[in-house]
Symmetry: C2
């Protein structure tokens, strides 16, 4: 009961892939034993990008839950909940919105980078997008999360949250909100099978946890290697060779990989042999996940997020009560 709370989550905009697996999913499977872990399916936050195409979110939601459970996130140890079911979150956000200026949001490095990538241009920046760091602060503080697993690019969001926490506690003379620490994930982002960019659904260059064995094999055999490595006897390059990147990430015997790399660089090791090894590796990783996934009935997934959301709602409501008490706006629920 004295475990620290960890909060993490995903925007449900498609099935999860191997990049998520090494980036966050594996870490959650470990963290759930150390922490009181909450995993939020951030459908509302996804809307800041997909408000004009919301079916992408509703179609993905149960797929993401299935991905979670099939990789070993255990609903007995981890509370999986749906953001849009927790009405205290937008209420907290609204109270925090008075404590953050628009210029501070525009200066947030994560927001700045995303603004450049998204290029809203003449249309202007939707208020919901600019304010999403405040929404994240609501998520984190609602559960009094002390640990938030994030990538390095998201550190400014934790800092923004902690600024709100300090300002709120100082302004209202309380200590009900807790500062959070980032838990940096060690693994780098996984490159796409084309070697060009991060694996992602939108670039169609990712291997999904739910891909069939045939599709996985097909994707592995289409991976980018070294275009100058024509004959088996040719020396081959390791840098930018996606097959090696994936073997580094997923093959357990690191010394064997080292000797394969040496052999490849000298010449005498063919791409097909390497791809066959990677395919076997990924099949043995994904096969039990796929089997587990098949066994999950929709009713069960529904129950998991329903119960998770009920539990999360009670906790967030309690924080909201403390926040409204601190401000002095709790007229009926004392």
């Amino acid at each position: 009961m004295c475990k620290k709370v960890a909060l993490t989550g995903d925007r449900p905009t498609g099935c999860l892939h191997l990049g998520h697996y090494i980036g966050t999913l594996q870490s959650r499977v470990h963290l759930q034993h150390e922490y009181d872990q909450y995993v939020m399916i951030a459908d509302v936050q996804a809307l800041t990008d997909y408000f004009a195409n919301p079916s992408k979110i509703s179609d993905s939601l149960f797929e993401v839950v299935a991905d979670y459970i099939s990789v070993g996130i255990d609903p007995e140890l981890t509370t999986i909940f749906v953001q849009s079911e927790i009405s205290a979150l937008p209420e907290l956000m609204m109270y925090y919105m008075n404590l953050v200026t628009t210029s501070r949001l525009e200066r947030n490095p994560t927001v700045k980078t995303e603004l450049q990538q998204k290029n809203f241009g003449g249309e202007g920046i939707p208020a919901g997008f600019l304010c999403y760091p405040i929404s994240q602060a609501a998520d984190i503080t609602a559960f009094k999360a002390e640990v938030v697993p994030v990538g390095e690019d998201q550190l400014p969001l934790i800092e923004q949250c902690n600024e709100i926490v300090r300002k709120f506690n100082r302004l209202y003379g309380v200590d009900c909100l807790k500062e959070a620490k980032a838990h940096l994930s060690q693994t780098a982002r996984l490159v796409g099978i084309d070697g060009k960019a991060k694996a992602s659904k939108s670039l169609n260059n990712a291997i999904f946890l739910s891909d069939s064995a045939d599709i996985v094999k097909q994707k592995v055999y289409s991976m980018f290697t070294d275009p100058d490595h024509i004959k088996i006897s040719d020396p081959g390059k390791i840098e930018g060779n996606v097959v090696f990147t994936y073997l580094d990430a997923f093959y357990r015997d690191k010394s064997e990989i080292e000797s394969l790399k040496q052999q490849y660089q000298k010449g005498g090791l063919g791409d097909t042999a390497l791809k066959s090894l990677l395919n076997e590796t990924l099949q043995s990783l994904l096969s039990p996940i796929r089997e587990k996934r098949k066994s999950l009935r929709r009713d069960y997934l529904y129950d998991v997020i329903h119960h998770g959301s009920i539990k999360a709602r009670a906790i967030a409501n309690e924080t909201l009560r403390e926040v409204k008490d601190a401000i002095g706006l709790n007229f009926f629920n004392k």
Copy 2:
């Protein structure tokens, strides 16, 4: 049951005064017979200005309810509710925030004027302030208000709301949100007793509905008239003469006022006689209001806003359900 809905409200930041009486309170007493009227005590909106001094809001809340009921707003005809009690409002706001750009908010004439007045300066504009028109759109649409009594300076807020309504309905292919019409109040704003500006609590130049008979008399006798009208026989000026402004607003017999004005301009009518007439007029207006106010017990006021808030909550929740259905985010409440 087929009456149109009217929504109106006040930020609870002090007792209401005669300016409110002629500006909105009188009109609400009439509107409650024509419309299904909701009066919102906008404590959350008040926080956008008073987040650093929230006790101003909590201290005023019951005073404002007492003002409402003492002037004749009837809880049997009008639903009086507290904004912070309606969690569906920030949820609706959050969904609407994706549909409005920050540049559109900055171009809103009402927001522009207020930004100039408030002069946030180096501190920057709080996100809550910039987004308050979206919060108002949530209030109006939650109750499907078709009529919103406002002053002319607030018309851009209704237009902003209707833009959101049209965009939401078009984007999600629904018609669940309703456009609202402004109901312009006819009476001009009441000048302060010093003649310098609008009557307001912060300028300490207003006559409050809860002022004692002595205080009212004292304020009337300190009113600005015509500084050049020294002797009774001197001709006096009507323009800028606060006593005449108040008589115009509160004295019933308009032809009698006309003949008093002529007499004053010619000379031969003293300020004291005029102030005595205004004092009698205001005492007879305020005396029953003050008596009614005294009879209102705190328990009763509590019950009024408690029941009003329960009723308002159910209606706003129903709209939220429709909105989430339209977006496709209603997973458990179908």
